[in-house]
């Protein structure tokens, strides 16, 4: 099993938004998709996924609808709302700024100081 990383606080929401931005997903699908797009590197405790989904739905960043799953079962599918799309763009940009800055800071060598 590949080595997994602990999630940083607040990043789960971002990952969910990203996952459902690609196509409508049910809860289990969100979990699988996050694992897949993170190259199996991120481990999400299964139980903490749903409170996050419900919180995002409450904030109207994602919307839910009951539909048929691939294996013909009824499942609740989540899609991104316009507000969610906006939020995802903002969060991505701010994450990228932070990551760039962190990377720059951490790659500093003694000559540069």
């Amino acid at each position: 099993m590949a080595k997994t990383a602990e999630l940083l606080p607040g990043t789960l929401d971002m990952l969910i938004l990203k996952a459902v931005s690609l196509r409508p997903l049910h809860g289990y699908g969100v979990l699988l998709r996050i694992k897949q797009i993170s190259g199996e590197a991120l481990d999400i405790p299964q139980g903490s996924l749903y409170p996050a989904l419900y919180r995002l739905e409450h904030q109207e960043l994602i919307a839910a609808e009951w539909a048929q799953s691939d294996n013909n079962r009824k499942a609740k599918f989540y899609t991104l709302t316009p507000a969610g799309r906006h939020r995802l763009r903002e969060e991505t940009a701010s994450w990228n700024r932070l990551a760039t800055a962190m990377a720059a800071a951490l790659s500093a060598t003694s000559e540069e100081v």
Partner: protein, 891 residues
């Protein structure tokens, strides 16, 4: 924020499907994962076990999901509500007492608020009603504080006062309406053409009156109220253009008013033009005929009352300038035209009464609230240990706070709901007392607005009641509480002091209410004891209007009177009958001028307005007047239109002090004229109260023979040996026999007129009396409750002291001393309150000083006795505590 609320509402409104969906969603997840694990090679049992472990506790996840959607707050509320209901059901005695107290106190407030709201707060039902004003003439130094406005005033002011965008005149009158034999007497408002546009609300069908319709002969038009249209024309729009017989003349219906139209307190269903002739509009009549006509106006935009007043003053000054004689007469009389807000002016008389009734109701509510607070504090104190334990076990402060709020709001809401019924009953009671005769009184109703006020009141009361409990619960250090309670120590000093302060406040408030009720009751009693100047027992009175159209000359009218009086005299039980154009306490009290030969006003002495009457038959005997000098007028004086008159004592004393009034000459009108027009005084009668029993000003009155001063309206007065009301039918029959077109109205005994005239004294006296009885009861309950609780709390201490040798008398004395201290402080505060209340109640008092010693002493004694009684029982119980039981029985 808004999105959150929307989302919360979506979930709350479909709570069951939300829960089902959540369960389904989580099960789907676990099953999908199980399938995946099976596919990866695990046995089905093992896969399912693994999936469940990795998912974690389903219940925890569900709880977190609910929290994510903010449902947990509501769940907590629901839980606390159930808990509160359980607690309240566990102590039914407390719950019933508390609910009834709240229902009573809130209900009383609701009643008074509904009255206040209908009369004082709600604007008149016209657009921009705050711009409506009234203008009246005042001659204070002539004893005429308030007259209406004259026709001349109207024609001179209309269009001439820039501060008014519209100005009109109206007059309350009556008319006999309907076909011969089926007539009814209806109240009518006679109005000038722009009356409806001044109000901003006119006919919804047809049109308003025109300028042409303000002259006699062309004024046969009428506008119907919606109610009249519905009753008599079945809401037929074709009624416009049809005819209605008014006072025998066909009048064309030109307009129909909208359903909600109601002008001030008027019950009128018909509106007709206020017509006049050129003579009435002339400057000579500027100051006459004003007492029945009232001016209303609408302020122009941007204009203020002050501006309008200034413009009216300036016009009055300019108009007076060309007549110096009149000018000096007017300035001696202190003449001024006053502009006042229409609504404020209409309810000015009743305003202080209502404010005081509301203050009384609020005081009652405070007393009730104090009682509840004490009861709740006692309960909270008993539960402090439980709360402390729960806090120690991790209950949040928020939880403790919300629990207290939920419990008290449940109580106050329940009480408030019952209070609605109490309020409705209160309004019925006020209606039975005659509240509909107050200005705008017929508007009084318990509506959504007052109900909303009651709801807010109940909610606020709940929060208010919870505050000290929360304070008590959160303040104490919980471990200390647990320990101290475990030792069975006394309740905390702070809580005790709070309870004592409440008792003091309660006693003080009850004392204020009691003394207030005392002086109001005394006022009522003294007002009722005022002699009206006649003997009101066994007298029946009724109003009849005899229209000019069918009784054109005075002989016609006197002939009608004669026939009526003769036929009435044959009825069994009739002792004397008479006729007058304005019976005392009829609600009409216009005054007019009389001149006296040989009397010239001294410089600066004001001319005086006097009551003037036309009387026929044995009026004086029927009313039971007392004769001071000379003789009464009789029917024969009317028949020959004899130039004689009778004056009252005030009149005689004012003009002929020290000498006999008999043989003196009086003129009807402001000027001394030729002797041939003079009336010779043939008698002096005692004073009577025309306007109200509490009238203080001696106005003087002149009684002329009916022929000389007949009026369209007359009152017939019958003295009988039977109960007066029993003659009403006979009277009606007699009048119909003489003229089937003449309806009767306002048939009442003189005694009931007197009772009705005192409503402004009776209503507050009675309501405040009811309030203070309840207040005293509540205070007794409160005092008893707090002291007996103090005894229970200190059982252990008392037992210990008695075991150490304290005598029962000492224990008893100690508790009595505490009670006395509280009582003393309460009475001291209450006396100050009673003084303040009395001073500000001056306007409501009649012949009673604001600080009335006997009333105060009585109130203090009553409160003292009641409170003492409430103290004695707990004190004696304290002294009877057995040391062994107290020490052993404590857990």
């Amino acid at each position: 924020m808004l999105g959150g609320l929307r989302s919360l509402w979506r979930v709350l409104s479909r709570r069951r499907s939300f829960e089902a969906g959540m369960t389904e969603e989580l099960r789907f997840h676990i099953e999908e994962y199980t399938q995946d694990l099976i596919r990866s090679g695990l046995s089905p049992q093992e896969a399912e076990r693994q999936a469940r472990i990795e998912f974690g506790g389903v219940n925890t996840v569900q709880e977190e999901c609910r929290e994510a959607r903010r449902l947990h707050l509501f769940d907590a509320l629901g839980r606390e509500s159930r808990y509160a209901v359980r607690l309240l059901r566990k102590s039914p005695g407390f719950t019933i007492t508390a609910t009834l107290t709240i229902a009573l106190c809130l209900g009383a407030n609701l009643t008074i608020f509904a009255v206040m709201d209908s009369i004082l707060l709600r604007p008149l039902p016209f657009p921009e009603a705050d711009r409506l004003v009234t203008v009246y003439n005042s001659y204070p130094k002539a004893g005429v504080e308030r007259d209406g406005s004259s026709i001349t005033n109207y024609y001179e002011r209309r269009g001439q006062i820039p501060a008014f965008s519209s100005l009109s005149l109206y007059r309350n009158a009556t008319a006999i309406v309907g076909e011969s034999g089926f007539t009814e007497r209806e109240q009518v408002v006679q109005v000038t053409p722009e009356f409806f546009s001044t109000l901003g609300l006119g006919p919804m069908l047809g049109r308003a009156f025109t300028e042409r319709e303000t002259s006699y002969q062309t004024d046969n038009v009428v506008i119907l109220s919606d109610a009249y249209w519905r009753q008599h024309f079945n809401s037929d729009p074709g009624a416009i253009g049809r005819q209605l017989r008014m006072d025998g003349n066909p009048s064309t219906i030109v307009g129909i008013l909208p359903p909600g139209f109601r002008f001030l307190s008027s019950e009128a269903k018909l509106f007709s033009p206020l017509s006049s002739n050129p003579e009435a509009r002339s400057p000579q009549n500027r100051h006459s005929g004003g007492n029945s006509k009232h001016m209303i106006a609408r302020l122009a935009s941007e204009a203020t009352l002050g501006l309008a007043q200034a413009q009216i003053d300036a016009q009055n000054a300019a108009l007076g300038a060309d007549n110096p004689k009149e000018q000096s007469f007017l300035s001696d009389a202190g003449f001024r035209s006053v502009v006042a807000g229409l609504h404020a002016d209409h309810v000015a008389g009743i305003r202080p009464v209502l404010l005081w009734m509301q203050a009384g109701a609020i005081a009652l509510l405070l007393i009730g609230a104090v009682n509840l607070m004490n009861l709740l504090l006692v309960r909270a104190n008993g539960r402090m240990k439980e709360v402390a334990v729960r806090q120690a076990l991790g209950a949040s402060r928020l939880h403790v706070v919300s629990e207290a709020f939920v419990e008290t709001t449940f109580l106050t809401m329940g009480g408030g709901l019952l209070g609605l019924a109490v309020g409705a009953a209160g309004i019925q009671l006020l209606a039975a007392l005659g509240a509909d005769r107050l200005p705008l009184g017929s508007n009084i109703a318990l509506d959504a607005r007052s109900a909303a006020a009651a709801f807010v009141g109940a909610l606020l009361l709940g929060v208010l009641l919870a505050a000290p409990i929360v304070w008590l619960n959160l303040r104490g250090h919980s471990t200390a509480t647990i320990r101290s309670e475990a030792r069975g120590a006394t309740s905390s000093r702070a809580a005790q002091r709070l309870r004592h302060a409440f008792i003091v406040a309660q006693i003080a408030l009850a004392l204020v209410l009691l003394s207030g009720a005392g002086i109001l009751g005394l006022s009522l009693e003294r007002a009722m004891a005022v002699s009206p100047g006649f003997r009101p027992g066994h007298v029946l009175t009724s109003q009849i209007s005899v229209p000019w159209s069918s009784y054109r000359t005075w002989p016609d009218r006197v002939a009608f009177n004669e026939k009526l009086l003769r036929q009435l005299a044959t009825q069994p039980g009739v002792a004397a009958t008479g006729i007058v154009n304005n019976v005392p306490l009829s609600g009409r009290s216009g005054k007019s001028a009389a001149a006296v030969k040989g009397h010239s006003r001294r410089a600066g002495e004001a001319p005086r307005g006097h009551f003037a009457y036309g009387v026929d038959g044995d009026y004086f005997a029927a009313m039971g007047f007392s004769l001071r000098e000379g003789r009464f007028l009789t029917a024969s004086d009317s028949r020959r239109a004899g130039r004689v008159c009778v004056v009252d004592e005030d009149f005689a004393r004012y003009y002929w002090p020290g000498t006999s009034a008999l043989g003196q000459l009086v003129f009807n009108g402001p000027d001394v004229k030729d002797d041939s027009e003079a009336y010779t005084v043939v008698g002096v009668v005692g004073n009577v109260k025309q306007a109200g029993l509490t009238d203080e000003v001696a106005q003087g009155a002149v009684y002329y023979p009916y022929a000389m001063r007949s009026d369209e309206n007359l009152f017939v007065v019958i003295r009988t040996s039977l109960p007066p009301e029993s003659l009403a039918m006979a009277l009606q029959r007699t009048v119909r026999q003489i003229d089937p077109d003449l309806p009767l109205s306002d048939v009442r005994s003189m005694e009931s007129r007197i009772t009705d005239s005192l409503i402004a004294y009776r209503s507050p006296a009675l309501t405040v009396a009811i309030f203070s009885v309840v207040a005293v009861l509540l205070t007794a309950i409160g005092t008893y409750g707090v002291l007996s609780y103090a005894v229970t709390q200190r059982r252990r201490e008392i037992g210990l002291r008695m075991a150490l040798g304290a005598r029962p008398g000492q224990i008893r004395a100690q508790f009595l001393a505490l009670a006395m201290r509280l009582l003393g402080a309460g009475i001291a505060a209450g006396l100050v309150g009673a003084w303040i209340a009395g001073e500000s109640m001056r306007a409501l008092l009649f012949h009673v000083p604001p600080v009335h010693l006997a009333t105060l002493i009585g109130s203090v004694a009553l409160i003292g006795l009641v409170a003492l009684g409430a103290c004695l029982i707990p004190s004696y119980r304290a002294a009877r505590i057995s040391p062994m039981e107290a020490l052993a029985g404590d857990q």
